[in-house]
Symmetry: C2
Subunit: 164 residues, 2 copies
DNA sequence: CTAATCTCTCTAGCGGCTAGAGGTTCAAGG
DNA sequence: CCTTGAACCTCTAGCCGCTAGAGAGATTAG
């Protein structure tokens, strides 16, 4: 039996995240020690590894919920699993192509950059005038997940309330 | 002078988003009509277009805040603007490469998919065993921003509280 | 004048966690 | 056996970048 800390260690999922998964019903309520601490067996460990892997592949938690429901019914058709994976692939492809357009635009913006004043800056100029762009639609950003580096200090900016 | 609705229309930024930008101090507090409704002039319109364009290029709001501060001091060096744009380009490149690894893995997972039961499903199998993967690190997902299509109905799932 | 459409402020919610407070339990060393 | 310190517990609140909705007031077209 594993404590939550050990489980976190072997699966690479952080402790609060495991508790979060339990809270939203993705992980079952595990047994508890006499002192009310969570204890996990191999089944839970396998389940969490599945979740972690699917997350690493970018599946949203809702999709993972559905995939897990499928593993609980192994005799049903795997058509649904296939559909979910294909949707994820389509999503990834869409993100890639949009990011490539973005990259092209950013490179174009930077390639003739000035070494002078902001007033002449091509970056600023292009940002202010979409007409200088070739084309790009809405971006695909969000979740950085930039491997939580310790040199990436989370600076909390204190929620501006500008006017009034 | 434009009402907030007209401004939203000409810039493509939604009305609540404009108010949100004002709230966090990204847009200034505009003048008001006699009936307390916001009125925008060309300067605000230009500023919002700048923000919108930078968002489209994936810049986070904090970066946009800094870029806007630069445009307010046009005589300073554009070095900072350049640095911000390069950081953004690096970020985009990083996302692209990670997504490509993801895509490869998803395609591999799907290419020999079964037409049978979940028990034999390669998708499920691979998800359950990371050892079957080639390699991929953490993903780059998040903000879909999939051009708010009306065929994409926002289904609200009511915050599970599984156990207890 | 009325009805429809904006607009106002305010609060709460989304995904997917992360951080911290303030308390309890466990395991190793003396 | 006792102490210490790490790990654990629950709970709440915060992150980004919006989005949704309630319940009110303003404006505009017919």
């Amino acid at each position: 039996m594993l404590s939550i800390g050990k489980l976190a260690e072997v699966t690479g999922v952080k402790v609060p995240t495991i508790r979060y998964y339990e809270q939203i019903g993705l992980m079952p309520c595990p047994g508890r020690s006499s002192g009310n601490q969570r204890l996990y067996g191999p089944a839970e460990r396998q389940r969490l590894a599945f979740i972690r892997h699917a997350r690493d592949l970018g599946f949203p938690l809702q999709a993972i919920r559905e995939l897990l429901a499928l593993t609980d019914r192994p005799e049903t058709s795997c058509e649904a699993a296939d559909r979910i994976a294909r949707a994820q692939l389509a999503e990834v492809n869409s993100r890639i192509s949009r990011l490539m357009a973005l990259r092209a635009e950013l490179e174009r913006m930077l390639e003739r950059h000035c070494a002078g004043r902001v007033a002449d800056c091509r970056v600023i100029e292009v940002l202010g005038d979409h007409g200088l762009c070739l084309h790009h639609d809405r971006p695909v950003m969000g979740d950085i997940a930039v491997s939580d580096a310790p040199d990436n200090p989370p600076k909390r900016n204190p929620r501006y309330r500008a006017c009034r």
